[in-house]
Amino acid sequence: MPEVFVAKAAQFPDGERRIVAYDGREIGVFHWKGKFYAYENLCVHQGGPACEGIMMHKVEDVLAPDRTWQGQKFSSDEIHFVCPWHGYEYDLKTGECAADRKLKLKSFDVVRRGEDVYVIAG
């Protein structure tokens, strides 16, 4: 399995992402809350650069115990990245499309070799 260099860990702060290319394929690597996640940079919708969009927490409705709607908030733990072409949102920790979890980006393993971060582009 080819290992593709992503970045020096010290130069890849938490909350950022890198896009690497290997053999005609682009891979988005995210560093989020101390862990690394990697997905193919190809939206399931129209092929947009899904991993290059902004990262936004999931929007949630706030319902009271009597089921009345009280407003909205951003999730405290579910973070999405958003395809900049049309707004398809993906769960950063799984690569699943937030609107339909049956749809999923191809994922890749990320490994650290000393101070270096690699993605296994197989």
């Binding site: 092929g47 650069p49 902004i54 990262m55 936004m56 927490h57 958003v82 900049p84 072409w85 707004g87």
Partner: protein, 404 residues
């Protein structure tokens, strides 16, 4: 520039380049061989608000011109005169080209609208784009009819002189100030033969019935000049009905169909296809799912109530199949339903590819090219051939887009 995100974070962005954003579209164009056939986009957009100072130079009425300029000075980001509808097309910044487009640099010595339009056309593989404004899609709701007329005339003059005259790959169906029937007639007379003008467009979000007698001479003139008439969909959150909807998704999903449904119903039931049999009519940016609904609904009721539509000589759906429909935003979540829709509307001859770029729900040519139920001929018709025949376009046998 900093983009606000969902928590304390902000995302710093220093540049924006359409070619980079659309790099995957470039790859699609290459992989699918778009260099081998013409692609015509019958509905794309620019932001005329970015050129409003230039446009106002073309406004005749000195008082309205001064009003608009003064309002522009008072509020740098609004025109003052354009009715700005409440809306969230940018999806809270998720569709990044909305907040970032101001950072993009055009080519030196080329008008910004031409430069940026050519850039995305080349990336997508489009040879000719029929271009419409953006904020003016709401202008039919302006409470001052004279403002709609003044802005329409100024915009049309500006577009013809500054854009259409200099870039043959950009064409337009010009804005008709439809709330003033006489002014609409005059606009067709004045601009109908200008370079780059391929028809005229009514923004659908308005409250004027298309069958009113005051419009008949304009339809007759368009028919005589062989210029298509298009109805461009739009939403209106201030309508009492859509006012019951609390999210933009609902207003957009219904609003962009609603007004075209009303106008299409009036157009057919009042027998306008019989009165103007050679007038070509196109329905733009309502997607396609509404058309089978209208066909079935009106055929069913017409069979029982034909006395209320005495001008008709065939079923309402037969008239609809004579019309043209732009593809975007094409509903693609049920391929079986989409295939049925293509059959019902005679897509191979009546469907026109449209991108709607740069708006948030744009469609690439691959949305048509990759459909499993179309053969190569049908794909090429929908992506370009149908529009070339409808608008009388001639590319001289050349591919104009620079497909890499």
């Amino acid at each position: 520039m900093d983009l606000p995100l969902s928590d304390f974070r902000r995302m710093a962005v220093e540049e924006f380049d359409t070619t980079k954003l659309l790099a995957h579209a470039v790859a699609q164009a290459r992989e699918r061989g778009y260099q081998k056939f013409p692609i015509v986009d019958v509905d794309s957009h620019h932001y005329e608000s970015e050129a409003i100072d230039e446009i106002l130079e073309y406004m005749d009425d000195p008082v309205l011109q001064q009003l608009a300029r003064s309002a522009r000075q008072a509020s740098a980001k609004s025109v003052g005169m354009l009715p700005a509808g409440v809306g969230y097309q940018d999806m809270g910044g998720r569709v990044t080209r909305y907040p970032l487009r101001g950072l993009e640099k055009g080519e030196k010595g080329v008008h910004r609208d031409i430069s940026l339009t050519r850039r995305w056309m080349d990336a997508i593989g489009i040879d000719i784009a029929i271009m419409f404004p953006t904020p003016m899609l709401q202008l039919g709701l302006h409470p001052q009819v004279e403002v709609e007329v003044a802005l329409a005339r100024a915009y049309n003059r500006w577009l013809c002189e500054k854009v259409l005259a200099d870039e043959p790959r950009i064409r337009s169906m010009l804005y008709l100030p439809f709330n003033d029937a006489e002014a609409s007639f005059q606009i067709v007379q004045e601009f109908g033969r200008k370079k780059g003008v391929v028809g005229f467009m009514v923004t659908s979000a308005r409250y004027r019935p298309v069958h009113h007698n005051s419009y008949m001479k304009t339809y007759a003139l368009l028919e005589e000049m062989n210029l298509p008439l298009a109805f461009h969909a739009g939403y209106n959150w201030n309508d009492q009905t859509t006012g019951m909807l609390n999210r933009f998704i609902s207003v957009h999903a219904l609003g962009f169909v609603f007004y075209n449904m009303v106008h299409l119903a009036n157009w057919i039931i009042n027998g306008l296809p019989e009165r103007f049999p050679k007038l070509k009519v196109a329905w733009v940016e309502s997607g396609l799912a509404w058309v089978p609904f209208m066909m079935q609904r009106f055929d069913n009721e017409y069979m029982m109530r034909s006395s209320e539509a005495p001008a008709l000589k065939k079923l309402p759906s037969d008239y609809m199949r004579d019309m043209f429909f732009s593809s975007q935003p094409m509903e693609m979540t049920d391929m079986g339903a989409l295939e049925t829709t293509f059959r019902m509307i005679k897509a191979e001859t009546q469907l026109l590819y449209s991108s709607d770029y740069p708006h948030w729900d744009f469609d690439l040519p691959s949305t048509i090219y990759d459909l499993p139920f179309l053969d190569e001929k049908a794909k090429r018709n929908i992506l370009g051939g149908n529009a070339m025949r409808l608008f009388g376009l001639d590319l001289g046998g050349q591919k104009l887009a620079r497909v890499a």
